[in-house]
C-alpha cells in the first residue's frame, strides 16, 4: 500500500465522517467541529493526490489551494462561532424573560 493511497483513503473517510457529522450531530458546536473535520479530510485527499507518480515532489498548485482553504476555513469557522455565540446569548436572554414572566 503506497503513501498516496493510504492518505487519500484516510482523507476520504474523514470527509465522509465529517459530512455525516454536519448532517446528523445535534449540537451546533459539534456541527462546526464536523465541518472542520470534513474540510481537513478534503485537504488531505487533495494533497495526497498531488503527490502521485511520477512527480518527484508534491505538486505546489494543490498545496497553495489547501493553504488558501485553511485560511478561508478558519474565517468561516470564526463567522459560524460568532453566529453561535449570538444565538446562545439570545437563548439565554429568552430564558431570563420567561423566568421573570413565569
Amino acid at each position: 500500500m503506497n503513501v498516496v493511497l493510504m492518505y487519500a483513503a484516510t482523507g476520504t473517510i474523514l470527509l465522509s465522517v465529517g459530512l455525516s457529522g454536519v448532517f446528523f450531530c445535534a449540537h451546533m458546536l459539534r456541527k462546526i467541529l464536523a465541518a472542520n473535520l470534513a474540510s481537513s479530510g478534503l485537504f488531505l485527499l487533495l494533497i495526497a493526490l498531488a503527490r502521485r507518480e511520477p512527480a518527484a515532489a508534491t505538486d505546489p498548485v494543490p498545496q497553495a489551494l489547501v493553504l488558501t482553504g485553511i485560511v478561508v476555513g478558519v474565517s468561516a469557522t470564526g463567522v459560524m462561532l460568532a453566529l453561535y455565540r449570538r444565538l446562545a446569548a439570545w437563548n439565554a436572554l429568552q430564558d431570563t424573560v420567561e423566568e421573570r414572566q413565569g
Partner: protein
Amino acid sequence: MPSSLELFDALLGVTLVGIGLRVLLARDLFQSIVLFIVFGLLLAIAWCRLEAVDVALAEAAIGAGLTGALLLNTLSATQRSDVTRTARLPEADPVSVAATDSPRSPQTGAHPHRIMRAAETVVFATLLAGGLLVVVVPLACSATAPRIETERALSWSGVTNPVTAVLLNFRAYDTLLEVAVLWLAVLAIIPLSAGTSPTTPHPAGAMLLAFLRLLVPLTVLVASYLLWAGTHSPGGAFQSAAMLAAAAVLGILCGGRIANSADRRWRVVLVAGIAVFLLVAGVGMGAGGRFLAWPHPWAGQAIVTIETALTASIALTLVLLFGGTSPEQSAHDADGNERNRTASGPRDMPAPGSCGKGPLA
C-alpha cells in the same frame, strides 16, 4: 513486509480517523475540542509525510492552534451564559448528560428513535465513504501529469519556493480574493459580536506572565523569519501572520485588551494587505504588464512587499476573528467592569509588527 514508514503511515491514518470519530462522539464538548486540536497537530505530521511543509506550518498554527482557541473561547463564553439555564434544568447541559453509554455509540440510549438515528448516520457515512473510495482509489493509483510547467516558470517567478510562487505570482488572483474573504468574515463578525463580551480574560499569574515575556518575543522572531523564509523555503505570509496572531491571542486571553476595530489605525492595518496588493498590481499594469502579473526583474521585490503588508493584515484579521469590541460598544455593556476598564484609558494591542507586547509592558 511493510517498511516501518508504511506502518507509521497506516498508524497515523487509523489514528486520524479514530480521533475524528471521537471528536464527534465524545460526550463532553470540551473533550471534543481538545481532541480536535490533537487531530490538527497529528494532521500536521501527515502533511510533513506528504512533503507539504507549508501546509503543515499553516495547519499547526491556524488549523489546530487558532481554530482550537476560537472553539474553546466560544465554549467557555456560551457555557457561562448557559449557567442560569443549567442550574434550572440540569439535563439540558450537554456536558452532564449520562456518560454511562459505551463511547463507540453514544446515540444508543433508551429511545428507539436514537438507535434509528445512529443507524441512519452509520449507513450514510458508509455509503458516502464507499462511493467516494470507488472514485478515489483508481485516481490515487493512476499517474499524474508531470509538473514541468510550474518548475519551468519558477525561474521568472521571483522566488524559489514553488508554493509561494503559486500563491503570489501564478495564482495571485486566488490570494487577493482570499484576503478579501478574510476581510468579509471580520466585517460579519464585528457587528455579530457587538455587545457580547467575546473573550474571558483571566488575570494572568506571575508564572504565566514570565512565560509570555519569553514566548512572545520568540514568536515575533519566528514569524519574521517565516515571512522572509517564504521566498526560498517553506513559510510565507500566512504562516507568519498565524504566528503573530497566536502571540496576540495569548496576550488577549491573559488580560490584554482586544484590538479595537473602531480605531482608525487598525482599519488602516486591516486594509493594508489588499491596498498594497492592488497598488503593486496597478504599478505593474502601468509598467506595461497585465493585472497581477509582476514584471520579471521586479517580481521578487513585489512579492516581498505584498507579503509584508499581507502579514500585518492577516494577523490582525485572525485576531479580530475572536470578536472585537469598541469602547462605544463595551460602554453599552451591562458589565460595569468593562466600562471601568475602557474609562481607565485604552490599552490596545500594539501593531502586529510588535504584537502582544502591550499587555506585558
